[in-house]
Symmetry: C2
DNA sequence: TATTATTGTCACGAATTGAGACAATAGAAT
DNA sequence: ATTCTATTGTCTCAATTCGTGACAATAATA
């Protein structure tokens, strides 16, 4: 949810929201940005609303910038959740009250919402999560150790993961899950975290090189007592 | 667009619509159901609106039943179109006027619409297209010979095709593009029409059989002067 | 009974993949 | 300096899959 004011009700398309699953990768873990609201223990995906004259895709870009400080993120829409019982009434009432806002004034926020879901792959290093007016934290959580999420947000994450696993090669190449240059081992660890399987080192390396998506750079002297690995980057095209 | 009355404005979620790309297969051609409005030469995908307390998916099922008479269709959502300039103002005004309806009364139909797009694979044989109150025809058109479609509907069809081509095996098995029993040749022709490529007969047959998705039945005596082909059906699971 | 078009399957080389072996090497230990 | 250790890049070889043509089987027709 984004910064809101009472006037918001008339500025936005009613009953329409978006939610975003922002993936990051650190060490060997796939993580997701999750927000927690002030004084509530209510956890949610970063989301927001669409202004009356705003492109849907632009609205998501705008909201994501407010939360991560990041611009120019490659966002991919993956599903629209439209069940009739998708409303924030109960948790949202709590959130409003605990923030000193009147549920009557913000009644529109308690109603049914259709939510268009997006995912993004971003570089963990680049993000300085910025909590907004309603939330007191915006933090990374490992995908396999998420806090209990409000509404159907756990289902949204699950669907995002399923989507991501399909045609992962192309998606990783377009996103920014890894830093600009990375080793083959880091790339393999990213694959393994996303697919939740172990992969064979030699087969993986051969396959990656045969995809013609990688450019090889100078070696990285890691400080470890062993042969130094090459660095690679994705060929953007 | 579905049957409407002035009261519709209050029954539906504003600014939200769906459009459906209904694929059928006949002979060697992939076809799509397209509607034409009375006295207008305006062509559009079958679409409609979502009632205030209706699941999004149910709304699409309901609309599709109104148009094709078919129930229990496997629908797959594939994208939500949300550009700010998506409105029906110009063509819709024409449609309303040519149907003796007042654009003032139906003003809500002229505004911006977010549209959730679905596709379905149905058996060409089963459909008796039923035009509704506003349209005078609902007919099959080959995908490569569509009439000029209103708004961004041509783009919606293109995206539906792209989606369909990805992981086609599973999608064909779940849908009903072919009759319950079909020959290997018919199956190959369906693949070729969708992918818009020629496939090698022997390789195709081997690959299909190795997928373990097909059940073999008795032979079909086609009347042709040659060996009779087996019939197959998809193993539903 | 011979002819013809089409179908199901096999055969064989080419390409891809699974899985282990091994040399190269950057730093740590001696 | 020399040896040791962990990791990396590549090679090898068998197993599997794929592209392609060959060929026998066969339903209707001539």
């Amino acid at each position: 949810m984004q910064k809101i004011s009472p006037s918001t009700a008339t500025d936005h398309l009613p009953h329409l929201a978006y939610d975003s699953v922002i993936f990051g990768f650190s060490g060997t873990q796939l993580k997701i940005l999750i927000m927690e609201y002030h004084n509530t223990h209510i956890f949610a995906l970063p989301g927001g609303f669409v202004q009356k004259n705003e492109h849907l895709n632009d609205a998501v870009r705008r909201g994501l910038k407010e939360r991560t400080g990041l611009d120019n993120i490659h966002l991919e829409q993956f599903y629209t959740f439209g069940d009739a019982d998708r409303n924030n009434a109960e948790p949202m009432r709590t959130i409003l009250v605990n923030n000193g806002l009147s549920p009557e004034k913000y009644h529109w926020m308690l109603e049914r919402f259709i939510s268009v879901a997006y995912y993004a792959l971003i570089n963990y290093q680049d993000v300085v999560p910025q909590p907004d007016a309603l939330s007191d934290s915006c933090r990374w959580y490992p995908v396999n150790a998420l806090p209990p999420l409000m509404m159907d947000h756990a289902g949204i994450v699950e669907k995002a993961l399923q989507t991501l696993r399909d045609n992962l090669d192309r998606k990783l190449a377009r996103g920014n899950l890894l830093p600009p240059k990375f080793t083959m081992k880091e790339l393999q660890q990213a694959y393994e975290a996303i697919l939740d399987t172990k992969l064979l080192r030699t087969t993986f390396q051969r396959r990656m090189l045969s995809l013609n998506l990688l450019e090889r750079h100078e070696k990285q002297y890691s400080g470890g007592a062993h042969k130094a690995p090459y660095l690679y980057s994705f060929i953007k095209g």
